[in-house]
């Protein structure tokens, strides 16, 4: 994150998405909340490190994917999320 400098629009969107996830996690059960937070923060950190910051096409794709996942998570019937590691 560009600390203390003016954040670009796309950076603000990424942060807003992250905030959205954390807020939604707050509404779930505490055990689930911790799991959601760890999964989400791990994903965001990985992408922040691996994805070239100039690759707008891919970042926008990830943003759209994240927004859709967030919409699904917001649904009160959804209790939590889990990840699966697929070994090649």
């Amino acid at each position: 994150m560009a600390s203390r400098q003016k954040l670009s629009g796309i950076q603000k969107q990424v942060l807003a998405l992250y905030r959205g996830f954390l807020r939604t996690a707050r509404l779930k059960a505490p055990e689930e909340r911790r799991r959601i937070e760890s999964v989400v923060s791990a994903e965001f950190r990985d992408n922040a490190r691996n994805v070239d910051r100039r690759n707008f096409v891919y970042i926008e794709y990830l943003l759209r994917r994240g927004k859709r996942q967030l919409e699904q998570l917001k649904n009160p019937d959804i209790t939590g999320l889990a990840t699966l590691e697929v070994k090649k």
Binding site: V51, D52, N55, V57, Y58, E60, Y61, R64, R65, R68
Partner: protein, 408 residues
């Protein structure tokens, strides 16, 4: 015993037949347990007919690669007639990573909608063009791509949802527990709308939808809005049409002719009293002639543009001098345009009709889409009708909604 006897007899019986006949019999009816004769040779009678398909590829898992067109050669003589057959052949034989949506392969599910050679259509219904030039297959235009030919349809579906595409009633059905009845004529009105499979070909072919995908509902959603009931509604005066004109201070557009006419009106007003006075003096037979002459001279000295006869009621929008109605201060053309849009208060067309007779929420439905963006972004471009793979006419349905917006 009898069976054994039969068996023993049959070879004997066969031996009695003439060799030619028996040979023919044996040849025409091979024993069922013998191997089936080999199928006809798999060498195609027609020579290999290769066609190139340029397919849009983009893989989100390798983010550094940009979207690109990849060429694949397909032998048409060994492939089904439709583009979907070619895509499946490529996926099966050449590149398993090619991703696309498909389900029914008969043009009823709407999954395989994509852009083939510039036109939107269903891959399972679009024949491969026989021409030897390459075919370009790309995803639906101006939609976010998830992978290869798969696009993000969430916006499209949410617009469909916003139209509330279900029957709504205010009072309970006439017969409790039974269906709401509908005459054949009423049911016939739904033809041309119920067949829509929500493939999104029409909406994604509309340039107006490309430029405003969030606000404009698109031909598909509007077709479904029309499929539900339509009843007249009161017109709502649209303020924006007039405001920017009235803000200019005078009632006309900055048209040169209107400006001049306005100048004339100002002058006429200024010299009105004077002119009338002079004229009255001139016309009065009781006054002495030289006095009348003097005033006649004075009258002629007044500026020409102060004459009332030079005023002309022009259309305030276009400046047209002919066919201008005093009541509306506009010409017949503008009147018609605005009246059809519903921007004239109290003006409605004499005809109105119902689409689905069973639904009772027509007025609310029409009001819901009666804003500048949801419905009126449609400028009758008619790309949707051209693109629809089921042969429906969304433009016509949108037109009926617009007409109904002005009825009561």
């Amino acid at each position: 015993m009898a069976a054994a006897a039969l068996l023993r007899r049959s070879p004997a019986a066969r031996a009695l037949l003439s060799p030619a006949l028996s040979a023919r019999l044996v040849a025409s009816k091979p024993h069922s347990s013998a191997l089936a004769p080999p199928p006809p040779s798999s060498k195609p009678a027609a020579p290999a007919n290769m066609k190139t398909f340029s397919i849009y590829r983009w893989d989100p898992d390798s983010p550094s690669t940009k979207p690109h067109l990849k060429d694949y050669q397909v032998d048409l003589s060994d492939c089904g007639p439709m583009v979907l057959d070619a895509l499946l052949k490529i996926k099966n034989e050449q590149d398993p990573s090619l991703t696309f949506r498909r389900s029914c392969r008969e043009g009823i599910c709407g999954s395989c909608a994509m852009n083939i050679d510039g036109d939107n259509g269903l891959a399972c219904l679009t024949k491969i063009s026989g021409a030897s030039s390459a075919s370009t297959v790309s995803p639906l235009p101006h939609m976010f791509v998830i992978k290869d030919l798969v696009v993000d349809m969430t916006n499209f579906y949410s617009q469909y949802k916003s139209v509330e595409p279900w029957l709504k009633r205010k009072d309970p059905p006439p017969q409790e527990g039974k269906e709401i009845l509908q005459s054949k004529a009423d049911r016939a009105k739904l033809d041309g709308m119920y067949e829509c499979i929500l493939c999104a070909c029409c909406s994604t072919s509309c340039p107006s939808y490309w430029w405003n995908p969030e606000e404009y509902l698109g031909p598909a959603a509007l077709l479904h809005a029309n499929r539900l009931p339509l009843w007249g509604t009161l017109i709502k005066p649209k303020p924006n049409m007039f405001m920017h004109l009235q803000a200019r201070g005078y009632r006309g557009v900055a048209d040169k002719r209107n400006l001049l006419d306005h100048k004339r009106r100002l002058l006429a007003e200024k010299y009105e009293l004077r002119g009338k006075l002079y004229k009255a003096v001139c016309r009065d037979p009781d006054l002495p002639l030289d006095m009348r002459e003097k005033f006649r001279y004075k009258l002629s000295k007044l500026p020409r543009n102060s004459s009332m006869t030079r005023l002309r009621n022009r259309c305030i929008f276009t400046g047209r001098s002919r066919a201008v109605y005093k009541k509306f201060r506009m010409s017949r053309i503008m009147f018609r345009t605005l009246a059809n849009k519903g921007e004239l208060t109290g003006v409605k067309k004499a005809s109105w009709w119902i689409q689905d007779s069973r639904d009772q929420f027509t007025k609310e439905r029409l009001d819901a889409i009666n804003d500048e963006f949801k419905l009126y972004r449609c400028h009758t471009i008619k790309n949707c009708t051209h693109a629809c793979p089921k042969g429906l006419n969304p433009a016509k349905q949108i037109d009926t909604i617009k007409k109904l917006q002005i009825d009561a």
